[in-house]
C-alpha cells in the first residue's frame, strides 16, 4: 500500500470534482461528495473510455457526458445501467493534502 | 460643436428595440399605423431606433398582422429598451408622443 | 519645518496632484517637487525655461526664494506651476 499526494483540500470542494495524475500517470477522479467527504475513483467511464470529469456531478450522482451513464459516488456502483461500476481508490487526508493509493486496483471496463 | 446646446430642439419620438422579430414587425406596424408620417429607422445592430415627428402609434392589430400571430401589447416590453418621448400603453396600442412642439 | 500638502496644477499636465512640500521650501523647490510628478511623465521637459509658482489662477508669480511658510497658503491650496523665461 502506498498513498501518494494528488491534490490539496482546496482543489476539490464539496460539490466539485477534478482529475489528477499520480506519479505513474494513472488518472484519478477526486470528488467532494455531499456532506464534505472526498472520494477517489477511476477517471474513465467504463463504457467507452470517456473522461468522467467532463460529465456532471451533483454531489451524489456522477453522470458521464457521452451516454449519460450514472454512478453512485458513495460506492461507485452503476445506477443506470446497474450492471457496471467504477473502481474506487482508498483516499486519506493529511493536513491539507489529499492522498490516494492506486496499488492493485484496476479500472473497470464495460459491463463488468 | 457649439450648436449641441440646442440639439434637443427637435420632435422625434418613438421606440428603441433591442432586436428580435418584434422590432421588425414594429417597423411595418409603424408604417401602417402612421400613414401620414415619415418613419425613420436607424439600425445600430444591438438596437433599432424607430421614429416619427411628434407622435408615433403602434397598434396591437398591426403587430399581429406583421407577426402573423397573436400579440399582447405588453409583450413589446421584452424588446423595448428605450424610447424617445413620453409613452402611453393600453392593451390595444402603444403611443409615443411629445406634449410640446419645439 | 513641517510637511505641507498642496495640490499641484502643472502647466501642460491634465490633472491636479497631491504633493507634500515643506514649509521651509522655496518656490523653486516647490516647483521641483511638483515637476517630479509631471515632467518626463506626461509633460515634456522644457530645459530652456524656468518654472514659476503662482497661486491657482493668479496673474503674478510668487518670488522664487519665497518660502511656503511666507506664502499664506491654506493646507491643500492649489498651486499653478508655469514654464517661464525668467
Amino acid at each position: 500500500m502506498a498513498f501518494e499526494k494528488v491534490c490539496t483540500l482546496d482543489d476539490v470542494w464539496e460539490g466539485d470534482m477534478d482529475c489528477f495524475d499520480t506519479a505513474n500517470g494513472t488518472s484519478v477522479l477526486v470528488l467532494g461528495v455531499d456532506g464534505g467527504d472526498l472520494k477517489a475513483f477511476q477517471a474513465i467511464c467504463p463504457h467507452q473510455e470517456i473522461e468522467l470529469v467532463e460529465g456532471e456531478f451533483d454531489g451524489k450522482v456522477l453522470t458521464c457526458k457521452a451516454h449519460l451513464w450514472q454512478f453512485d459516488t458513495n460506492n461507485g456502483k452503476g445506477l443506470n445501467p446497474t450492471d457496471c461500476k467504477i473502481a474506487e481508490y482508498p483516499l486519506k487526508i493529511e493536513g491539507e493534502d489529499v492522498l490516494v493509493d492506486i496499488d492493485g486496483i484496476e479500472p473497470f471496463t464495460a459491463h463488468s | 460643436m457649439s450648436n449641441l446646446k440646442d440639439a434637443f430642439k427637435q420632435n422625434k419620438v418613438g421606440p428603441v428595440f433591442n432586436g428580435g422579430d418584434v422590432a421588425q414587425a414594429a417597423i411595418e406596424a409603424a408604417e401602417w399605423d402612421n400613414p401620414d408620417k415619415e418613419i425613420t429607422v436607424v439600425d445600430k445592430g444591438a438596437y433599432i431606433r424607430i421614429s416619427a415627428e411628434q407622435e408615433l402609434i403602434i397598434t396591437r392589430e398591426s403587430m399581429e398582422e406583421a407577426l402573423g400571430r397573436d400579440f399582447q401589447m405588453n409583450e413589446i416590453e421584452i424588446h423595448l429598451g428605450s424610447m424617445a418621448g413620453q409613452i402611453e400603453v393600453t392593451p390595444e396600442q402603444i403611443r409615443f408622443y411629445f406634449e410640446k412642439t419645439l | 519645518m513641517a510637511v505641507f500638502p498642496i495640490s499641484s496644477n502643472f502647466e501642460g499636465d491634465f490633472v491636479l496632484q497631491l504633493i507634500p512640500v515643506d514649509t521651509d521650501d522655496t518656490m523653486d523647490q516647490v516647483a521641483e517637487k511638483c515637476a517630479y510628478h509631471s515632467v518626463g511623465r506626461r509633460v515634456a521637459p522644457q530645459p530652456d525655461k524656468i518654472m514659476r509658482v503662482r497661486v491657482h489662477q493668479a496673474t503674478e508669480s510668487l518670488p522664487r526664494d519665497m518660502k511656503v511658510s511666507e506664502a499664506g497658503w491654506r493646507p491643500t491650496e492649489t498651486i499653478d506651476i508655469i514654464f517661464a523665461d525668467q
Binding site: 483540500l9 482546496d10 470542494w13 464539496e14 460539490g15 466539485d16 467532494g32 464534505g36 454531489g59 | - | -
Partner: protein
C-alpha cells in the same frame, strides 16, 4: 508592478465564499453579502455623516436590540432567486388564471346568493387594503434588513402581497359585473375604515407600518400580522365561501396560502437563525407578547362577522398558535 498573477491560485467562486470550500449554488452566488452599507456601522453611506438617512439606518438597523455576529450568514431555506421566483409564480398565476376563467365559465358568481355577494363586498373585497399594507411592510423590510439574504425575503414577499392585492382587485371587478348593487368596487374603503370586522386588522396594520426597528418590524409582519391574516382572512373566509357555494374564493385563498406558507418556512429559518444567539429569544418573545393581543383582537373582530362559522375565531387563533410554535415561539 511585478506581475504576480501567475503565482496566485485561480478562484473558484467569490473570495468571500471561498472559505466554505463548497461549490456555491446559484442562490449563494447571486444573493449573499450584497449590503456594502453594513460594512461601516457608524457611517452606512458614502455621503456626509449629517445626511439624515445615516441616522435612520444606524438607529433602526445597526442598533437594533436583536444582535447577531454575522447576519450575512442567513440563508433562505427556499433558496429563491429572481429567476426561479418568476418561474414559480408564473406557474402559480397560470393556475389562478385557470381557476378564474373556469369558474367564470361555470357561472360561479351567478350561483352565489346576493347575501353572500354583499358579505363579499364587506368581508372580502376590502382585503386589498390589508394586503397592500403587507406589501408596504415587506418593502420596508427589504430596505432595512441587515443582510441581503434577509432583504430578499422582503423583496419576494412584497411582490406576493401585490399578487394578493391584484386577485382582490380583479375579483372585485368581476363580482361587480354580476352584483352591481352591493357596493362592490365602491365601498371597500369605507368598510375597511369603519366596519367593525376590519378595525382590529386596520389597527394592527397601521401600527405595523410604523414599526421601524428592522427586527421588530420583521416579527410584527411575519410572526404576528401575517399568520393572523392567513388564519382569518384567508382560511376562515375561504371556509365561509365554501359554505356559501363560493368554491372559487376558497380555492383562490388556498392558492395565496401557498405564498403565505412559503413565508412561514422562511420566517421559521430566520427565527431559528436569530435565536441561535440565546439573548435574542427573550427579545423576540417580548415582541410577540406585546403584539399578539392586538392580533387576537383583530381575529376576534373579523371572525365575529363570519356568522356561518361559530368556531371561526377559536380555529383561527389555534392556527396562529400552531404557526408560532413552528417558529419556536410561545
Amino acid at each position: 508592478m511585478s506581475d504576480s498573477a501567475q503565482t496566485l491560485k485561480p478562484l473558484k467562486t467569490w473570495s468571500h465564499l471561498s472559505k466554505q470550500r463548497k461549490r456555491p449554488s446559484e442562490y449563494e452566488i447571486v444573493t449573499t453579502n450584497l449590503h456594502f452599507h453594513t460594512n461601516n456601522k457608524e457611517k452606512p453611506f458614502e455621503v456626509g455623516q449629517d445626511a439624515k438617512m445615516n441616522d435612520w439606518y444606524i438607529t433602526y438597523r445597526n442598533n437594533s436590540p436583536l444582535k447577531h455576529d454575522n447576519w450575512d450568514a442567513f440563508r433562505d431555506p427556499e433558496q429563491l432567486v429572481y429567476r426561479t421566483y418568476n418561474i414559480l409564480q408564473e406557474g402559480q398565476e397560470a393556475y389562478v388564471t385557470g381557476l378564474l376563467n373556469q369558474f367564470s365559465e361555470r357561472g360561479n358568481d351567478q350561483m352565489i346568493s346576493k347575501e353572500w355577494a354583499a358579505d363579499l363586498a364587506r368581508l372580502y373585497t376590502p382585503s386589498r387594503y390589508l394586503y397592500h399594507a403587507l406589501q408596504m411592510c415587506a418593502a420596508y423590510l427589504h430596505q432595512i434588513s441587515p443582510a441581503s439574504t434577509i432583504s430578499n425575503l422582503g423583496t419576494y414577499q412584497s411582490a406576493d402581497h401585490l399578487r394578493w392585492v391584484t386577485h382582490s382587485a380583479y375579483r372585485t371587478c368581476e363580482l361587480a359585473k354580476t352584483w352591481p348593487d352591493v357596493g362592490l368596487g365602491e365601498n371597500e374603503r369605507e368598510h375597511w375604515e369603519k366596519d367593525p370586522a376590519w378595525q382590529g386588522f386596520r389597527e394592527l396594520a397601521e401600527k405595523a407600518l410604523v414599526t421601524w426597528d428592522w427586527a421588530e418590524a420583521t416579527v410584527v409582519l411575519n410572526v404576528i400580522l401575517k399568520p393572523a391574516v392567513s388564519a382569518a382572512v384567508q382560511k376562515q373566509l375561504g371556509l365561509a365561501g365554501a359554505e356559501n357555494a363560493d368554491t372559487l374564493l376558497s380555492l383562490l385563498n388556498d392558492a395565496q396560502m401557498r405564498d403565505a406558507e412559503r413565508h412561514q418556512r422562511q420566517t421559521k429559518s430566520l427565527m431559528e437563525f436569530a435565536m441561535s444567539n440565546d439573548a435574542n429569544t427573550s427579545i423576540i418573545q417580548g415582541w410577540v407578547d406585546k403584539w399578539q393581543p392586538l392580533a387576537d383582537k383583530a381575529i376576534d373582530a373579523y371572525c365575529a362577522a363570519l356568522t356561518d362559522l361559530p368556531d371561526a375565531a377559536e380555529d383561527a387563533k389555534a392556527y396562529v398558535i400552531s404557526v408560532r410554535k413552528l417558529f419556536g415561539l410561545a
